[in-house]
């Protein structure tokens, strides 16, 4: 069993066009999905990220806004799950409601000492 990180991207265009009723319905789907993961012991941690951000680059530590050129590329949140393999982690991500909004999940293994 290893830990995997989901990075959520995109879906913003669809999100802002939603009515309050649709927003609530979407939110409730996330709730159901996360609760399911928690009950199976799959869920470790996760939080959404705000829109604002800065990037510090290079030896000169240049601080810039962004790089948020493309809405699709912004990481909107993350989740850490327990899974038996990368494939298993990918499979678990299929249930994520972000796909309703045409979003994207990047699945990455979190390195650990006992590999």
């Amino acid at each position: 069993m290893s830990k995997y990180l989901y990075l959520f991207r995109g879906g913003d265009t669809q999100r802002i066009q939603q009515s309050p009723e649709q927003m609530q319905a979407h939110m409730q789907k996330w709730g159901v999905w996360m609760k399911g993961l928690a009950e199976k012991g799959t869920l470790v941690d996760g939080l959404p990220l705000g829109k604002e951000g800065k990037v510090v680059t290079g030896g000169k530590k240049v601080v810039t806004d962004g790089p948020f050129a493309e809405g699709k590329e912004i990481v909107g949140g993350y989740l850490i799950v327990n899974a038996s393999s990368l494939d298993n982690a990918v499979e678990i991500s299929f249930g994520c409601p972000i796909f309703e909004h045409d979003g994207q999940v990047e699945v990455r293994e979190i390195m650990s000492m006992n590999m």
Binding site: R15, I16, Q18, S19, P20, E21, Q22, M23, Q24, H26, M27, W30, G31, M34, G46, L47, P48, G76, G77, L79, P97
Partner: protein, 414 residues
């Protein structure tokens, strides 16, 4: 009495509540920025609460985020345009959790109802604005509920909002001198809204049902205000509850229209029937006998009789007679005849229908032809009944009704 006040439509209702609170504070002139701010708060909430439990008081949280966002935007706007902030625009941290703000929102919603149902707006604009600003419907939801093109609704709402913005200003509860008249036009709009939702149509039943319950909710908000809690308001509420109680039974699983006679009465919503009785009881004070009282009385008799056969037709007819004195609409006259026929028979009903046959509005209404067809059938004139049903089918564009009439036609003997 409080129906359907649950978490179910939290976002939709918070949209209305917060929009009302902020409009009351910053005037109708800021409605665009206010709507943006509320949308922004809901988006934030959606993201956060997807990952975490909702806070204990989600309303207070949303209100705080929305008003912060709005103040931020107003400050930015202030740099370019001279704008007077209300003195108390800076809400302190403690104030967010102050329950008085949230309980005050009821009054603010009331002000918003009067503002959205303001006489500078047309009836259609009043319905659309109420749905948009008080009930938190999107343009798309409004267009599918009112069976209008999305583009048309968008244009109409923009126009209405412009009037709302420029001609209303500070939103308030009308003073006592004006209140009665303003209240009766608010009731009219609420009833129109309810009927938009109640019309039987194909598809989209969910959003239509929501409109009916929104109309009930708005009326309930009015009851919480002493001067608005008038007998005619309670009569309207009663009427809407009785009709809404039969909502599910009107269409069967095959998507066909079911007449009152054949409805499965077990499907009628008991909670709503009880609410209807409660409000009917509350409406029977004072000297005013409004159209809503009569219609609520009729609806109560239909809804509370054990079965179709034991319906108290005579009392219903008496109420219809009064209704027609009150509001001589051709539809009321037509509905009255349906009851009249139950008591006096088809031949006499056919005599009576001649009195309204020249009403132009009836000639474009399929109900007129289908009701007359029933009378003809019951009097034994099968061929004429067939002709009338064919005419009825041609007159309606509603698929569910067409199907219903076709079935009726096919059931007539050769």
């Amino acid at each position: 009495m409080k129906l359907h006040d649950s978490i179910e439509h939290l976002f939709r209702h918070e949209y209305g509540k917060i929009t009302a609170a902020l409009t009351s504070k910053f005037s109708s002139y800021q409605i665009d920025l206010i709507e943006d701010a509320v949308q922004e708060a809901l988006l934030k909430a959606m993201k956060l609460w997807s990952f975490q439990e909702m806070p204990e008081n989600p309303s207070a949280w949303l209100y705080r985020v929305a008003s912060n966002h709005l103040i931020d935007q107003l400050r930015r706007a202030k740099k370019s345009v001279e704008y007077d902030f209300p003195e108390d625009f800076l809400i302190t941290e403690n104030a967010y959790n102050d329950s008085s703000i949230l309980s005050g929102i009821k009054d603010e919603q009331l002000k918003m109802i009067f503002a959205c149902c303001h006489p500078v707006l047309t009836d259609a604009e009043q319905i659309m604005l109420s749905l948009k600003l008080i009930s938190g419907f999107s343009i798309k939801e409004i267009s599918s509920a009112l069976l209008k093109k999305e583009d048309a609704v968008k244009k109409a709402t923009t126009r209405a909002k412009l009037k709302f913005k420029n001609e209303i200003g500070k939103i308030e509860i009308p003073n006592e001198r004006e209140l009665n008249q303003r209240l009766s036009s608010v009731l009219k709009i609420i009833y129109l809204m309810f009927n938009e939702g109640y019309k039987s149509t194909e598809g989209e039943t969910l959003v239509k049902k929501d409109i009916c319950f929104e109309a009930i909710r708005l009326a309930e908000i009015l009851t919480e205000h002493k001067t608005c809690d008038a007998p005619q308001l309670n009569a309207l509420l009663s009427l809407m509850c009785f009709n809404a109680a039969r909502f599910e039974a009107r269409i069967n699983e095959a998507g066909e229209l079911v007449t009152l006679e054949n409805q499965n009465r077990d499907l009628w919503d008991e909670e709503l029937i009880n609410a209807g009785m409660y409000y009917l009881d509350k409406s029977s004070t004072g000297m005013i006998l409004s159209q809503y009282h009569l219609e609520a009385g009729i609806a109560s008799l239909y809804t509370t009789s054990k079965n179709f056969e034991s319906t108290n037709w005579q009392t219903i007819l008496n109420l219809y007679d009064l209704l027609i004195i009150h509001n001589n609409s051709s539809i009321a006259a037509l509905n009255r005849l349906v009851v009249y026929e139950k008591i006096n028979g088809a031949e006499k009903a056919l005599e009576e229908i001649k009195k309204i046959e020249n009403e132009e509005s009836l000639l474009s209404n399929h109900l007129y032809y289908s009701i007359k067809a029933d009378f003809k059938k019951n009097a034994g004139y099968i061929n004429e009944a067939k002709e009338l049903l064919t005419k009825a089918i041609q007159t309606t564009s509603n698929k569910i009704e067409k199907k219903f009439l076709q079935k009726k036609l096919s059931e007539l003997p050769e």
